[in-house]
Symmetry: C2
Subunit: 199 residues, 2 copies
DNA sequence: GTCTATATCTAGATAGAC
DNA sequence: GTCTATCTAGATATAGAC
């Protein structure tokens, strides 16, 4: 989902997906529009409809690509974090922040309710793989049950998504606003989720 | 911001604010529109403009009311949580989830970037008061500095906002989807943020 | 203070020319 | 495969009647 593409007039389909990421990163789903993507690429507003039947299918393709790339980013970050399972899961939160601030495509896009009816096999495979990556990281920390692993994943993503979303809304003070600073805080907060309670 | 209002034809201004909350709770900022609020109240789409010069000023009034009510909800929850400062701050996360799921008006609305230019004194006072409530709760846990308290507030809100926002996007499985269940998990996760690390 | 009517804008989506 | 042109729909906002 990130490899060898010719540029539009060559591969408009791939260019539409890439430019969708750029638009999402700048203005969120709020300001995303098929027309804006087309304008950004210098093609007519009708052109995208040769490649995607409607807006939802374009977002579905973005969702699939994001699930794939985010899963890869998380795996890479976990491996870089070393052997401790709790550190590896916490690193996933930091990777989430960095990926989503850069692309605008977090879980609110990947798992958007409006995509639920889409019979998109590629997307289904990528989202399942992403969830498997997360559940494996959570299970490795010593969860007693599948249910517990699910809830640990939810908590980790909630922390990461919360930081990302407040950051995107411009909530954090200027001086604390570097992506890396926010990612580091998300990692620290996520790490606390697996620390055995000991007051 | 929640007391004695006659109904529209009596107090349309107040009714517009209340109905804005209902719309935000149902569809988020995404689907909020002045026209939809008017329709819901059975008045013409022009009527709101007799009370607010434009959409932004209506959202500003919503922001002020939300900051006030959320601050009150957090104070109440903290007091109900008892004397332990860490429990009191964690309770704020649970109160945030319950309030924002019910009203749709979280920090992304209260501190929305599009409201930054608004010279709205009431809103400024309410948002400052809300932040003071949170900083006091954080400081009481034994923060070494103002900066540390700010970051603890940020982490607590990030957790709460993350849960809320994933919940609103329909991410959680059906069976785990009661507001109270999500609020409880947010409280637990927030509580972990102040637990002294001890592996 | 509210209504009807309207002007303007933007988005989604389609038809038909090239 | 892309363009021009166009239709529809919904939103913001204003003007003027009542």
């Amino acid at each position: 989902m990130s490899a060898d593409r010719g540029y539009h007039h060559g591969d408009l389909r791939e260019a539409l997906i890439e430019t969708s990421f750029a638009l999402l990163a700048e203005g969120g789903l709020q300001r995303f529009s098929v027309a804006a993507v087309a304008r950004r690429l210098g093609v007519s507003t009708a052109a995208p409809y040769r490649h995607f039947p409607d807006r939802i299918h374009l977002l579905g393709a973005v969702s699939a690509a994001a699930a794939h790339d985010l899963g890869a980013a998380i795996t890479t970050a976990a491996d870089a974090a070393g052997a401790d399972p709790a550190d590896r899961l916490a690193a996933a939160a930091g990777a989430y922040v960095r990926y989503v601030v850069g692309t605008g495509a977090g879980f609110h896009v990947i798992y958007a309710a409006e995509l639920n009816g889409l019979p998109d096999g590629a997307r289904r495979d990528q989202t399942r793989a992403l969830m498997t990556v997360l559940l494996d990281l959570a299970a490795a920390t010593g969860c007693a049950s599948y249910q517990e692993a699910v809830q640990l994943v939810e908590a980790t993503i909630a922390v990461a998504h919360g930081y990302t979303s407040l950051f995107a809304d411009g909530f954090f003070a200027r001086k604390s606003s570097s992506v890396d600073a926010i990612a580091a805080r998300a990692t620290t907060a996520a790490r606390a989720l697996t620390t055995r309670s000991q007051q």
